[in-house]
Amino acid sequence: MQILSIERVSLQYPQGIEALKEVSFELKKGELFTLVGPNGSGKTTLLKLIYMELFPTRGTVRVKGFSSSKIKSRDIPYLRRRLGIVPQATELLEERDVFENVALAMRAVGGKGIRRRVWEVLSQTGLSSRARSSPHQLSGGEAKRVAIARALVNQPFLLLADEPTGGIDQERAEGILFLLKRINRQGTAILLVTQDERVGQSLAGGILRIAQGRLI
């Protein structure tokens, strides 16, 4: 079952810079894909098109029942509730502990059974013992796990992860990749973007390569 379809998508910024050119691909339920490309190749832009922070100048992005050519701005939050987004900058709230950082994602959408679900996802991501820690007490790898836990807590069908292993050491990066593989095995589709070719190989899913806004 197809959950994401990107059909001949191009994005040109008003200054005339073409960030993406004729990009097409599909993702089915439970699939795992890694999008590999150098800095500035359009990886993050493509993720932003999927969660409809940006819109294509040509082509269409379809995510389950939502289409970039038809969606109304008031419906975008409802699309994002069904996606899990791990942004490149981890963006944790310093004044809230790990539990609250994760719970915030559920509170924001009026989720039920917050306590139970947050503990569940903290345990899934190996953060149970850090629930009451402040973000500044966490290592880089743990902070990335919190961002993943926050993205998972609303049980998305697709997880979009932007450089989840960026800026952390090899051992911790492997831990993150292992966690993502486990999440994928439990049924969540994943699209991960990275500059590191080895990440794609390690995840053992499909690999897409992007350069200068084109899939190659």
Partner: protein, 282 residues
């Protein structure tokens, strides 16, 4: 919706607990700003009261012809009372006029006069809103045209000067009001906006996880309303205390109306709410 509201209130309390210094500085800025606005409103209120009292003294004196009978005078007074804008017309006979003069200048002065030279008259008081120069002039002209009236007097020049003075004073008051009102609004709105900027990261996260615009906005709106309301209350209390402190030096007619204090709190609430809403819009 109820969940949204509860979450909004919880977030406001969280923000105050977490950043007490920021909260107090914001509150102080809003309170001082609203104190200034309240002081201006109090001044305006008293100014208008003084002007109203001054205008209440505006009246027309109609001197009647000598030899007019009592019944003619009463009939004339009745006709004057029917003129639109006239509140009352009091008949002053020759004798009463002489007694008034005696009260003012003494019996010796009256004795020196010999015969009573004073004509009977009508003291015409006008309704509120009918005490402006041109209107008074019109009413005076109508009274003057009535049979039995010798002459009318209404302090035309004085009234013209009063009208001009009131016009300029109210214009100045309006300009000052707009400036102080706007600066108060901008100051309150700016304080509320800073709260929003400090929590920009949180807003970004909320957007990413699928919170609706209304949900994200609510805590900022509540915080703005709460700070504006509390700032208004503190500003009103400060204004009251200053008024008590300064009242020995103020004219005895000066008052601090509860309306001014209420307006101060109301404007605080409105400015805070609008500040919260605009900061989010930006």
């Amino acid at each position: 919706m109820a969940f949204d509201r509860l979450y909004g209130i919880k977030e406001v309390l969280f923000s105050f607990r977490r950043y007490p210094a920021r909260f107090l500085v914001s509150l102080l800025t809003i309170s001082l700003s609203l104190l200034l606005l309240g002081a201006f409103l109090c001044l305006t209120f008293n100014l208008k009261l003084t002007l109203r009292n001054l205008r209440a003294k505006v009246e027309i004196k109609a001197f009647l012809k000598d030899g007019i009978t009592q019944s003619q005078m009463e009939e004339l007074a009745g006709r004057v009372r029917l003129i639109q804008g006239v509140k009352d017309a009091i008949l002053i006979t020759k004798e009463e006029a002489l007694l008034d003069l005696q009260r003012e200048f003494g019996k010796e002065f009256i004795d020196d006069l010999g015969a009573n030279p004073l004509p009977p008259s009508l003291r015409v008081r006008l309704r509120e809103g009918w005490r402006k120069g041109e209107i008074v002039q019109g009413i005076a002209a109508r009274i003057d045209s009535l049979d039995g009236v010798e002459d009318v007097e209404y302090g035309g020049k004085w009234l013209e000067r009063l009208d001009r003075f009131v016009f300029h004073l109210l214009l100045l008051d309006l300009i000052l009001g707009v400036i102080i009102g706007l600066s108060s609004f901008m100051s309150v709105s700016n304080v509320v906006s800073r709260t929003f900027l400090a929590r920009r990261k949180e807003v970004e996260i909320m957007r990413l996880v699928g919170a609706t615009r209304r949900f994200i906005q609510r805590p900022f709106l509540y915080e703005g309303l709460f700070q504006g309301f509390l700032g208004g209350v503190i500003g009103a209390v400060l204004l009251y205390l200053f008024f008590l402190l300064l009242s020995p030096q103020l004219p005895s007619e000066a008052i601090l109306s509860p309306k001014v204090l209420g307006l101060q709190v109301g404007l605080g609430l409105a400015f805070g709410g609008l500040g919260g809403r605009f900061s989010f819009g930006r």
